[in-house]
Symmetry: C2
Subunit: 168 residues, 2 copies
């Protein structure tokens, strides 16, 4: 007995009497856990390659406005990004401070705002894309890229399902 500390065996070495539903939940957990780790890895790589110290989630906002068109409300962007509106208020304030977006009152609804990409924001986006090409080139093979292309539509469907069936 060399070890002073008790180290418990992994659970799969014990006999299992779990119900089917628990087994399914474990696979769901494993899936979401993997998704979380990939997200973590991608964020770290992105954070290191984005110019001007821009946070990956803020870059996602710029990219969203760039691809899908600007002039959207903060709440609409928040829904697309799956973050709360308080988070969006903060993120937009940061991006506005950097001069990448402008936030204007919605002329058709005095409660709301509309978010626009500035020229500087578009320049930033182009520069960011260029710099991240190299960063991702270091960690991605053609095989992995094609794997991601294959998986993307499945993830999109799953996301849409989760989004439309979420609680509240």
């Amino acid at each position: 007995m060399s070890k002073q500390q008790q180290v418990n065996k992994p659970k799969n070495e014990q006999e299992s009497k779990a119900a089917v539903s628990e087994n399914s939940v474990m696979e769901v957990f494993a899936f979401f856990n993997e998704v979380g780790i990939i997200n973590q890895l991608a964020s770290t790589i992105l954070a290191g390659s984005l110019p001007d110290g821009v946070h990956p989630s803020h870059f996602a906002i710029i990219n969203h406005l760039y691809r899908l068109g600007d002039g959207r409300s903060p709440l609409r962007i928040a829904a697309a990004m799956q973050v709360t509106k308080t988070t969006m208020t903060h993120s937009l304030k940061v991006l506005e401070g950097k001069g990448y977006i402008s936030i204007k009152p919605n002329p058709e609804d005095a409660r709301g705002k509309l978010v626009f990409l500035s020229a500087g924001g578009r320049q930033f986006r182009d520069k960011a894309i260029a710099q991240t090409v190299a960063a991702f080139g270091h960690v991605l093979s053609d095989e992995q890229v094609s794997r991601m292309k294959k998986l993307l539509p499945e993830l999109t469907e799953l996301r849409q399902f989760l989004d439309s069936n979420r609680l509240q």
Copy 2:
């Protein structure tokens, strides 16, 4: 001209002269963006169903120790979770404060610590699983669960690739 604000067209309505590499990068972005949103959705669902206000990432630590065995170093857990060691220091302090883990010095290396699941931690894990079964049941159909089972090994391979090829 009813609109006072200029709203730019989505980018895909403009002619594209982008290089192949940029197109690939856009798909990679789309993939990681989808992963990030799914992660966000899953975290929100989990956060609402975990007992005792435990953060999803902290539950992931407990689940990791439960499944793969405890008596691991904080750094090793941090590597598995893809978070920094400073984050792990904080997370373990929280879990220790709740009585779910104990942190003991490593008898074979005075620099290190070893993390053990307490009985309370195991009880918490079982209770958490039970409570989240219902929560996920509300937002997941059998079709989505089987989709996740199908995608899991692909994501795992991708994660392993990213992990082994990451910068530094």
